[in-house]
Structure formats: structure tokens, C-alpha cells
Amino acid sequence: MSHIPENLLYTRTHEWVHNNGDGTVTVGITDHAQDLLGDMVFIELPEIGTTVDREEEVVVVESVKAASDVYAPVGGEIVAVNERLTNAPELVNKDAYDDGWMMKIRVEDKLDLDELLSSQDYQELLEEEQDDED
């Protein structure tokens, strides 16, 4: 079973969100998502200063298997991106929740955070998806 840290929030589209407590959040994709996608070979990050809407496509991750979109879990301004991923996309596979972070967003509307899933909700979502597969 994939790793789901309790201190993070999640989306139904397999992003994780860390509330930094200073009006920004850090965003990446979950261990489950990286496992499904396989080895990462290219990650296209947004430009700093871009404003994104909640659920807007913001990052493209290309694995050996396919290209996938990463959606913004909250609306706001991109204030930082993980430049290391440009030359080392495999960090997402090796350490999805730490070195594999993708971007920081300054949250425009705090209510967006209420829409996110707790680790327990996300765990249940994965179990449902697993059941659908079986």
C-alpha cells in the first residue's frame, strides 16, 4: 500500500498539499500517483508569477508510460517551483512528498483548502479505486 502522510491534504486527482501556515501551500503528486505513472522522464513546471485557478492544469509530468496533467489544488499565484525536477525528474519517484515537491502557491481564497481531502479520506478514495479495479 502506498505511503499517505497524515500531515498533508489531498485531492481526488492525486495531488498532495502542505499548508505552510504563511498563506502558501506546497504541492506535489502522491506516492500512489508516481507509482501508477512509473519512472518520470520530463516535468514541465509553470512560471513563477503565473496565476492559476483551482483545478487548472498547471504541471505536465511525462513518465516512461504517458503524459499526465497535475491540477492546481487551490487557486492563487505560483511563488516557487522545484527547479531540481528539471534535471532530476526521478526525484518525484524517489521522494514524492519531500524532494519531489513541484510548486508553492500563494492561496487566493482560503475556502479552497476546505475542499481538500484529509489523509483518511484519501486513503478511502484509494481503497474505492482499488475495489473498482477488482
Partner: protein, 362 residues
């Protein structure tokens, strides 16, 4: 329920991620497709390819039959054990499948065809064989393991010990029957190695011996990136029944001489040659960061001129590569549409990596 090869349980215990491939439950990778790719380029990897269809053709008129059935000419197999790559065509020149045929004796040829085309191929061959009285037997009692990479042959020789016999002297693209085992110095990776066809009951033991000798299990994912780097076509992706060998870079596999050999599809191909080739089959190297995939549109000077048939991020070159079918014969540069953007690419011969080394200019 998907079909399982004799090695299915061994894959699960090695941590394989299993996918359905042409009705078979096969390992796509065992953790990291990229690592598996590099093992084959630098050391030794092994693939369970038991899903592929092994067919034995026996009878006095087998050679005569195959000379009519295949676009390549089995008369090129001048010594026992030699292998030949060929397409099997419809009357209209469309490719039914690509295959390898081994000429083992005057009255025994062994053929390996794709899993996805198994039923179609067998039905076609049996229909065409009727006038020749050939015995066509699918060998479902056999398994097949490909051991590939610069260290692969040495590892196999060490495991077989004295049983290896004349194996170390086997030349590339030749096969040897060793009792119930059949060992061919062929592959689908661009590296040296063997494809070993053995009784299903021997497969698990041999697989384990290879693992003990530090030969890494590799899945279908790495098999695909390796074959693409090596410039080897994949049936159903780079070619199908709507295309002829002349459309997908396989003209070299069609034996037009001798001119009196009337193989199935010959008339259609002759007519096509007369009319001028319809397509140019090329390799592409993306000049910017990104990943090429199959079915992306190719442009030259703003005009759509073709499509990628398969593409990937080349783990060896660390650049995106693709095979593409173009309607124009000239040009060294093009643009590929990737997710709505046009990115520049270089047109090269569709061979990117062989024997661990890049085949394209930097």
C-alpha cells in the same frame, strides 16, 4: 482472465507490476523501467517472452511453401540454424505480421510470430499451406526467455557449463538446437544475447539460475524503449495491415530477386514501386525538452507531412526519439506537435542506439 506464462509466479515474487498484453498477464516492469533498460545496455537483463507464438513447420515442401508465404526469401538461409526476419503479407501487400523464421533442416523451419496476431497468423498459414501438405504445429508446450546485453551470453554459457556445447561459437542471427532447448543469437534490444526457447517445465529453474547469476528481470516497458532505440519496428504500432513493408522502412526485408519467386503480395509491391514510394520512414530526435509519443503530427515548413508511429524518451540518449511515417522524401528538420505546441526535431535514420552506443551525430 488473462493467460499466464510458466514464469507468472516468478514475476509476482520479483515484485512485477502486471499488465494485460494481448490477453497475457505480463510484467510491465519490476520497479523501475529505466533501471531495467540500462541493465540491458550495460550488463545483462532477461525478458519472459513466452507469450510469443512459436510455430514449427514440417514437411518436404516447407521451403517451397515459405518461399511463397513470406516477403523475404528463405533461400537466403544457406546453412542450418540461420535466422531470417520477414513480413508476411496479404495479396494487396498489407502486413499481416512480422516474424523470425529459423531454417533448422530441409524439412523443419521454426517461426516466432507475435502474440497479438496469433490466431490470425495461424489461420492464414494453415489456409495457404493446404496445397503443400505442411504440418503446422503451435508449440504451446514451450517457454521463451530472452537474455540480452553485453554480458548476457557469458552468463548463459556459465550456467550451461559443459551442456553449452558449440553454443559459444554460434554466430549472430543463428540458432542451435541443444536437446530439447533451442537457443538463438537474436533479440529485440540492439544488444548481443540469446533468445532461448525451452520446455515450459524447465523455465522456472532456468529463470532462477539466471537471477542467481545477476541477470536482472526486465519487463515489457524496457523491451519497448530498447527496441525503439535499436530502430526495430513493433507490429500494430509502426506497421499493420493497412501498410506495406515499403511504407515502414522494411523494404530491405523484401526479396524481389530472384524475379520469378511469386510470393504473396509481390504483385502489389511491384505496382507500388512503379508508382513511386508512398512513404518515407524516418527517425526523429526532439531538439527541445519534452517527450515524443506515437500519433503526434509532423510538420515541415508549416505543412503537415506525417505522423509519429512510436516515440519515447530515450534512456540512453536522454532525449526524446520517435519513428515517423512521412509523405515527403526530403528534409532534415521538422516540427512535431506535442500537446498543442510545435517543437523542432531532427530527421535521422531510424536507428538510435546499437551495442550500447549512440548511432546518431551529436
Amino acid at each position: 482472465m488473462g493467460k499466464k506464462t510458466p514464469l507468472y509466479e516468478a514475476h509476482l515474487s520479483a515484485g512485477a507490476k502486471i499488465v494485460d498484453f494481448a490477453g497475457w498477464l505480463m510484467p510491465i516492469h519490476y520497479g523501475s523501467q529505466l533501471d531495467e533498460h540500462h541493465w540491458v545496455r550495460t550488463g545483462a537483463g532477461m525478458f519472459d517472452v513466452s507469450h510469443m507464438t512459436v510455430v514449427d513447420l514440417k514437411g518436404d515442401r516447407t521451403r517451397e511453401f515459405l518461399r511463397a508465404l513470406l516477403a523475404n526469401d528463405v533461400d537466403r538461409l544457406t546453412t542450418p540454424g540461420k535466422a531470417l526476419y520477414s513480413c508476411m503479407l496479404r495479396q494487396d501487400g498489407g502486413i499481416l505480421d512480422d516474424l523470425i523464421v529459423y531454417g533448422m533442416a530441409a524439412d523443419w523451419y521454426r517461426m516466432v510470430v507475435n502474440a497479438a496476431t496469433r490466431e490470425k497468423d495461424l489461420a492464414w498459414m494453415r489456409t495457404q499451406a493446404q496445397p503443400y501438405g505442411i504440418d503446422i504445429t503451435e508449440r504451446t508446450d514451450l517457454a521463451m526467455i530472452a537474455v540480452q546485453g553485453p554480458a548476457a551470453r557469458g552468463k548463459v554459457h556459465a550456467i550451461l557449463g559443459a551442456r553449452a556445447g558449440a553454443l559459444p561459437d554460434l554466430k549472430p542471427f543463428n540458432a542451435l538446437a541443444l536437446n530439447t532447448w533451442f537457443i538463438a543469437r537474436t533479440g529485440y534490444t540492439g544488444e548481443d544475447g540469446y533468445e532461448i526457447i525451452l520446455p515450459a517445465i524447465d523455465a522456472v529453474d532456468f529463470w532462477q539460475q539466471l537471477r542467481n547469476a545477476d541477470v536482472h528481470p526486465c519487463g515489457l516497458g524496457a523491451r519497448d524503449t530498447l527496441r525503439l532505440e535499436a530502430g526495430m519496428n513493433l507490429y500494430g504500432t509502426d506497421m499493420d495491415e493497412s501498410l506495406t513493408p515499403l511504407d515502414c522502412g522494411l523494404a530491405w526485408t523484401v526479396a524481389f530477386t530472384p524475379e520469378d519467386r511469386q510470393f504473396i503480395g509481390r504483385d502489389a509491391l511491384e505496382a507500388l514501386k512503379q508508382s513511386g514510394l508512398r512513404h518515407r520512414f524516418v527517425g526523429l530526435i526532439l531538439e527541445e525538452r519534452g517527450v515524443l509519443r506515437g500519433h503526434q503530427k509532423v510538420f515541415i515548413d508549416g505543412k503537415e507531412v506525417g505522423i509519429t508511429t512510436s516515440g519515447t524518451f530515450s534512456p540512453t540518449l536522454k532525449q526524446a526519439i520517435a519513428m515517423a511515417r512521412l509523405s515527403v522524401l526530403d528534409g532534415h528538420h521538422c516540427a512535431v506537435e506535442i500537446r498543442g505546441k510545435l517543437l523542432p526535431a531532427r530527421i535521422v535514420k531510424p536507428v538510435f542506439v546499437r551495442n550500447g552506443k549512440s548511432c546518431v551525430d551529436a
